[in-house]
Symmetry: C2
Subunit: 230 residues, 2 copies
């Protein structure tokens, strides 16, 4: 069973907002504009990486890197056309609020930045994270541990005290790299067994299920504390 | 190792053409027009079912069934706007041609029909299937066995002689229901372990890998035959 951490580091896309499929679509269209055809399932599983890592991952080192900037720009423009249509994933806003009420330190660690980040935070009704780390704050993107490591240091917590919550294998790997436990959520379209295989400590359906697990963990801790003092 | 069947029943969407993500997107937009918000990952995993089964599956029986026709029409219109952008999945055309050259009976069994089917066959450069069964030919859609059962009877083959090739758990379940072996392909975005868990006899990456496996199976059969006659 999940234990109550001192802090939670949240991924954004596919974890709190329903965007992994829109990112996959935007990459698919962006790559096609530069003459590359990549199956959408392959792009879907690469979402969550920073763009700097995603392009070599899906196109290989044989690509013409002069197209990289065009493809990143095209992805960003196409994705921005979807900003107004993005939906919260089940329980996302409630989850961030619950963590605050429980006294946990919360951090957002996202490969997104700029107008994408602003639009997604608007979808979530501007949640109040204690720490926000974006791709602009680090040298290297997920699956590197940089985003999570910077979040951790700004939270003033040890790896053993936090939980990293994400939807992609890259989130799970970033958590492992700093030595933190992770919750993999299936709501970004990566399956339970893929997240398990990547090394997720727990796999849950969506933010809603994490709310229930945290509430259960708190009441179980309370029960054991009152048993100790009895 | 895969053995050479007498016939192959192919699914179309996500198996031969890269459309599962476009169907998920079209359903997501179509449902939203009727006021329903469903996470895209949930829609993605429902693609492959017929529309008659998909709507109760994703919305539950509590939905207002008076919206069903509107949602199906909206999906069809939105999906049709993507017809010209659909791509063949790696090795798809080559696979159908290879089956013909190997003397296998080929069937297409698809939950699609009408203009969607025509458009997808155009993407594949009009492959020559011996049998084509669509949703119009059956009473009940996948995961019911109807599509595969009708294909089987028109092919004049026994379940043990065929291989059902699809990308969704619904294809695997339809194959099981008639007692046939199945190949689950990961290229529609359903993962290896989900297809395994559903009971796929083999799980491969895409049509290209199936071409290689069939070629290997033929040469292994040839080797064992020449060993027998030696």
């Amino acid at each position: 069973m999940l234990t109550v951490p001192a802090g939670i580091v949240f991924d954004l896309d596919g974890t709190l907002v329903d965007t992994t499929y829109l990112h996959a679509l935007a990459w698919w269209q962006a790559l096609e504009l530069s003459g590359y055809v990549v199956p959408m399932a392959r792009l879907h599983r690469a979402v969550g990486m920073g763009a700097d890592r995603l392009l070599p991952h899906v196109l290989g080192d044989g690509r013409d890197p002069r197209h990289d900037e065009d493809m990143v720009n095209a992805h960003d423009v196409i994705f921005a056309t979807w900003h107004d249509r993005v939906e919260e994933l089940p329980g996302a806003c409630h989850l961030v609020g619950l963590c605050h009420r429980m006294g946990l330190t919360t951090a957002l660690a996202s490969s997104s930045a700029g107008r994408d980040l602003e639009a997604m935070l608007r979808v979530l009704d501007h949640p109040d994270f204690d720490v926000v780390v974006t791709i602009d704050d680090v040298r290297d993107s997920k699956p590197s541990q940089d985003l999570v490591a910077v979040a951790l240091s700004r939270m003033g917590l040890e790896p053993s005290e936090i939980l990293v919550v994400g939807d992609s294998v890259w989130d799970v790997k970033a958590a492992q790299a700093v030595g933190a436990r992770s919750v993999g959520l299936e709501c970004g379209g990566t399956s339970r067994c893929e997240l398990d295989e990547a090394g997720a400590t727990w796999v849950l359906a969506n933010p809603d299920e994490l709310c229930r697990e945290l509430t259960r963990a708190v009441s179980s801790r309370r029960d054991s504390q009152s048993a100790d003092s009895a």
